[in-house]
């Protein structure tokens, strides 16, 4: 039986270094090639030796697909393609292709220049790797080779994030990457058509969460910022350069516009400016509002948000500053925080999760005195707010996607095992489909039942149509006779005559004959005519003929009567039918074995 195999190399019952191998219809595909944020050793990258112990991966993989530009989905790409060795095509959407190298370069800089690691990929490798990338458009079907085709769907989450459908023949797999089923200020919601894949591989970060409406959080956020600015305070928002930062920017920008506010908003420069540039370019990937209004004004050309300069931090009066990094552990955001922490009028808003040990984590837990370097203490008087904006689908969103795509099997990755367990139960219970959650390196095999396309000759079809009702009734299957010819990788259903002709064979007739003994006192011709009348009364709607040569024909079945001279009352009926009429023939023989009813007149 044909089967689809899925093996996660990363992200199996885990978050980080997404890398999933799929074998479908004889093709091997790698979905995502990410790195793990939590490790600094070999575990950082997926274990590619699973694919092959030595040598390049090119001959084992048909293609690599990257769903979006987050490093846990593309961070290992240059390592895989340049250092391990892969020369085949790498597919990603246009925005991902544009932004991905920026992030990879940034990642490389931090690892090599700051941490001083050697044996890491170089800038040149990133460039070489990106040369192998083939860009994808949404809803565009791309033929990787003659049989394998892929198609991208919108996934929300971040700019350019895509879900991918991989299809070989009638077998298909959909990989969601990370996705978001609720729209936000700059991106729309994920969407897929009813493509009924054999397996839907979905992320499950928030498998056990049902989120509240986004509006409340947005409103809270805006209210807090507004209040602080109105009483003349400064607001610091530590962010990571891409993704949420843009959403918050749009949120504040539109709010400023709406409320006619004058206080300046700054964005610390660097990486962000480049990224904003791409947001401007790929306006078609954003949400309805931004797409519709960009003719008047591109929403990413911020009117109120300006580039930040270090000296601005000391300016009097209210202001809002977005600064990197998000966890307040180093860099500009920390510098500004130190300057502003002493004033209770000011406020800091943490828009995301903070790792233990960072200042962000400390102040979120309400620590009022911070020990800085050189034994200085910093008193935290400013208000600390936490405001989470996450762009993953919650449990309801995942269920909604399943409902949209109607998969035959479900496979969960990119989430914690315990949470997956819950969702798995729910999916199996509510959709009655199989749900898998393989760990890293564990292979899930799904047996598929692909439909086999067969060419049918038009003549045969028309002939069968003419026999039955005028319309093919989708509710009732109909049987038809024909010959299946398997030749040169193709299947054809033709009429038997044509098959014989094509194969150069003679037609052989197959006839069944059978004798039935019957006690009947009448003469032979009389018996025959009695049989004729009997059959005529039993088989209504069939053509029954009494031929002059002493036979009765029912359709193509011949019935003869003979009797030996010694036992004139024991008549021997000779029945003969061709194999096509097997049903009718056997029916007749059993019927006649029962004998003729007594009350029959001879004529």
């Amino acid at each position: 039986m044909p089967e689809i195999k899925v093996t996660p190399l990363g992200a199996g019952q885990d978050v980080g270094r997404s890398c999933i191998l799929v074998s479908i219809g004889g093709k091997n595909i790698m979905l995502d090639c990410g790195m793990h944020m939590g490790f600094n050793d070999d575990r950082r990258f997926p274990d590619f030796s699973y694919i092959t112990q030595q040598g390049r991966l090119t001959e084992f993989l048909d293609c690599v697909i990257i769903s979006h530009f987050h490093l846990d989905h593309c961070g290992a790409l240059p390592y895989m393609s340049e250092m391990v060795g892969y020369d085949g095509p790498i597919y990603m959407t246009h925005p991902t292709k544009a932004i991905c190298p920026i992030l990879l370069e940034d990642f490389r800089k931090i690892t090599v220049d700051k941490k001083g690691e050697t044996n890491f990929f170089t800038s040149q490798m990133i460039k070489d790797c990106m040369k192998k990338v083939v860009p994808l458009n949404l809803h565009q079907t791309v033929q990787v080779d003659d049989e394998l085709e892929i198609k991208a769907y919108y996934a929300g989450h971040v700019l350019g994030a895509a879900m991918v459908q991989i299809k070989v023949g009638s077998e298909s797999v959909v990989y969601t990457g990370d996705y978001n089923m609720t729209p936000d200020r700059h991106l729309g919601a994920a969407w897929i058509d009813k493509c009924r894949p054999d397996i839907l591989i979905s992320e499950s970060t928030y498998a056990t969460t049902i989120r509240d409406s986004k509006r409340c959080r947005e409103r809270d956020f805006l209210k807090k910022v507004h209040e602080t600015v109105e009483r003349g305070g400064k607001v610091l928002i530590p962010v990571f350069a891409l993704g949420r930062a843009q959403e918050l920017c749009i949120l504040l920008e539109t709010f400023w516009e709406r409320m006619n506010m004058k206080a300046p908003i700054y964005f610390s420069t660097g990486l962000t400016e480049k990224a904003n540039h791409y947001y401007k370019l790929f306006i078609t990937w954003t949400n309805q509002k931004i797409r519709k209004t960009f003719v008047q004004r591109n929403m990413f050309e911020f009117k109120h948000i300006k580039a930040f300069d270090r000296s601005y931090a000391d300016n009097p009066g209210p202001m809002v500053v977005f600064a990197t990094p998000g966890m307040l552990h180093a860099g500009q955001s920390l510098q500004i925080f130190k300057k502003w922490a002493g004033n209770e009028k000011n406020m800091i808003i943490m828009p995301g999760y903070c790792v233990q040990g960072t200042i962000g984590h400390k102040i979120l837990n309400g620590q009022k005195k911070l020990e800085m370097e050189n034994r200085q203490t910093l008193e935290v008087k400013l208000q600390v707010e936490y405001m989470s904006f996450s762009a993953h689908a919650d449990a309801k969103g995942i269920m909604q996607l399943i409902r949209m795509a109607e998969p035959r099997n479900m496979l969960l990755v990119h989430g914690e095992a315990k949470k997956m367990e819950f969702l798995k139960d729910k999916i199996e219970q509510e959709f009655t489909i199989n749900c898998f959650m393989p760990a890293n390196g564990e292979t899930t095999t799904v047996i598929t039942n692909p439909s086999v396309p067969v060419d049918i000759s038009l003549n045969l079809l028309k002939r069968e149509m003419a026999l039955g009702g005028p319309l093919p009734d989708p509710k009732k299957p109909r049987t038809m006779h024909g010959t299946l010819i398997m030749k040169e990788n193709s299947l054809r259903l033709v009429s038997p005559e044509q098959a014989l002709k094509e194969l150069g064979l003679n037609e052989h007739q197959l006839r069944f004959t059978c004798r039935v003994q019957l006690q009947d006192p009448h003469s032979d011709p009389d018996t025959l005519s009695r049989i004729y009348t009997h059959l005529k009364s039993v088989l209504k709607g069939y053509t029954i003929q009494h031929l002059p040569d002493g036979t009765v024909m029912v359709e193509s079945i011949v019935i003869k009567v003979s009797s030996s001279a010694e036992e004139p009352n024991t008549k021997v009926l000779l029945l003969s039918w061709s194999y096509q009429d097997e049903d009718l023939g056997s029916f007749l023989s059993t019927l006649l074995k029962k004998g003729l009813p007594s009350g029959l007149s001879s004529m």
């Binding site: 509240d212 409406s213 509006r215 449990a395 949209m404 093919p472």
Partner: protein
Amino acid sequence: MAAHLKKRVYEEFSKVVQLPQEEAPAKKLRLTKPSKSAALHIDLCKASNPTDALQYLLHFARSSVEAESVEGVVRILLEHYYKEQDNSVRLKIASLIGLLSKTQNFNPESILDDTLNTFNTEKSHQVLAQLLDTLLVIGTQLPESPIVRHRLIEVAYKHLSDTYFGVRNKCLQLLGCLGNVDTPLNKDGQGLVPAVIGDAQSLISDYFADQDPRVRTAAIKAMLQLHERGLKIQQTIYDQACRLLCDDYEQVRSAAVQMVWVLSQLYPESIVPIPSSNEQVRLVDDSFGKISHMVSDGSWVVRVQAAKTLGNMLQVSPHFLEQTLDKKLMSDLRRKRTAHERAKELYASGEFSSGRKWADDAPKEKVDTSAVNLIASGACGAFVHGLEDEMYEVRIAAVDALSALAQSSASFAEKCLDFLVDMFNDEIEEVRLQSIHVLRQISTNITLREDQLDTVLAVLEDSSRDIREALHELLCFTNVSTKECIQLALLELLKNLTKYPTDRNSVWKCLKFLGCRHPTLVLPLVPELLSTHPYFHTPEPDMDDPAYIAVLVLVFNAAQSCPTMTALFSDHTFRHYTYLRDSLSHLVPPLRVRHTHTHPFQTLGPPIYSAQLFLQQSLGRISTIHNLQDPGAQDLLNFTIRDLQRLGELQTELAGAADFSATYLRCQLLLTKALQEKLWTMAVPLCLKHNAMATAAAKQMLEETYKLEFLYSGLENRQVATIHHVRLQAKALQLVLTARTRRGVEPLISVCEKFLQEVESFQRLFVVELPHLQESFVGKLLDLSPKLSACKPGELVKILQTTLRQSGFLNLQLPKQVQRASATIIEPTGESDNPLRFTSGLVVALDIDATLEHVQDPHNTVKVQVHTLTHTSCLTAHGLACQIEVRLLLAYSSSRLCKAAWSDSSTEGLQPAEGATEGTIPFGKPVKVFIMPKPARR
């Protein structure tokens, strides 16, 4: 009046009938009749290939055919139809027949047989579909004939099993439009019609499961069509329709939503079982749940349809309804409270701040995993999804649906409040505006909590004026629960006032209603609001401060129904009350105050009656004047005009009537003065000065008549006649003056003719009024009319002169309600010394905000005039501030009143500016604005 109107109607009607052009084209058409069909015939015969034939047909389709020749043309077309081999040509012919059958006054029944015959030979599916479409066109035109209908249905039935989807589509459409609406003939009519054909319903429902989605859609649509035509759809279809909700194709799902809705309205109370359980629910609840489910459909078209439909299901039980706003939150398998719940709790516990700490929304109790239902069965959270949808179309539909449902259920209104308030923050202004409107509509059912009010008030800072005004309106109708709410609202409104001073009126009005609604809540706030102190005198606030006025408006309106409040006022508050009662009487209600003598109207009883009486008396006094030449008449007029003007100032209700009468009287006075001079008998060169005065008087009279006619609303025909009469007098005066100053007869002739024409048209227009005008100028003139048209200009002038002097004073009859159109420019105020800076050579925008009163159709009639007061060159010079004047004009055009009478006077030479029937009247005070052009940057 009525008789007069009737006559006018007849006049106009007879004119239309008499128009000779009407017949001419008809005749022409009839002449071309044979040639037309013949030409077509020839064309079609000539066509050597299908492309040519198609061209001819396309060309033919553009020309119109008259009813009589349709049948012939159809015959010819059909003749070619049978000969034609090419499908596309046959298809075009079929569509042409449909088109032709729609010709007016043509009975399509005559071509029905011929069209039906074509079905016997047609093999092409496309052409068949087109032919069925043609039948549909014919059939819809003959809805009354059961035989035709029956035959068409038979055809449709026969082709229902066609393999081509288009044919099946059309057949279903035909069945939907023409199918039997009456109950299927199962009792006695069985013999007449085969039962299958009679029961279109079951026939159509068979196609709900067709393999082609387009046919499925058509089948549902046909069923809906039957429903619209009055057929009661059977409940058995419900299951099928519900299954179609999960169809692969969006148009099918969209139509199925409608179908399910229709059924839910037909059989709301019948009981359906819940699959996989023993329970049963009402059908309307079941369908509500199913449609709610569609709000999270993959296609936004379906989502919009579903959200809209939900708003129309008012019979749903409250339990299901409230589920739509329900969303069980969960975080890491722990039950979490929604932000709304938290806000409510915080409010209940008396704490104000929210979300200050990290993880204060941390989940509490553990969730029982088996109890969590991720795919919400039923209506769960439908609106939560709908309001969060990506497409604003869906969000708007959801907001509308919320509104409809909330209006019918108070408890639901209470529940959906949080969600609506959240929508105030939507990214699309349309959605925000809509949700504010909706909240206003349901505000009678609800009371806002403090935290909700806080969110609502935050929107007051929105830069869009529409939003702010909608919000003010909302606040007018809102109930709040505590005095803190009132304080909060007042505070935010004052903030709004400082940020957007143009909102002044709207804010005041809002506070007026707020005060009226919550007198008891305002009471404890009064000392604080008015900053009074039990021992000390506080400084008197500035009376011109809009914020202070706003506070006073709130307090006074609350005091209206709270008599104890006035005791808290300090002396200056009473003084300010008196002042505001006078200046902003629409905002400040009458109060029973301590010092009644400070209020003049309070003691006089209902002031309006006495004022009205005074007006009547004044006019009555005037009516005693018979001839304006009488001694003392002028003095009386002078006094009366003065009285009336003063009355108009004092009594706003009567301002229109008083102004109207005063203006009319002034016209009369002007005329009298111009005529009274003895200088009329003098030689021309000696009386130049007098002439100048008289000319000015005539000109002013004309201007005033236009004002009288167009600036006031509520005039009846009688008054209009009087006004026109004055205008005629003014014109006569002008004529006389022209005759005196100019020499030669030639120019006079044409002027005289003009005048006579006007007299004539006056007579025509106001036939009904003529009896009342016997003694007047026109009356006397018309007595002489046969002589007038014959006499020379010189004589005419003489006659006019004497008639003018001798004619009696025409009394003014006041109609019940006369209102004067008025305009007040609020913005720009004209007080600003800050010039409006702009780059010279470019356009500068100036926002004008004005209050218009008693203006009909303001979009078309009000215009803005910009005057440059300084020399125009300053507009291009740099760095110099210059002044422009902005004023509003009321554009009028007599065509609104009487087309025929005034169309001829438009080219009049006498007074080109005033004589034109279309013109403008300045109304409202002009406002001066400084502008300053800046040099363009290069």
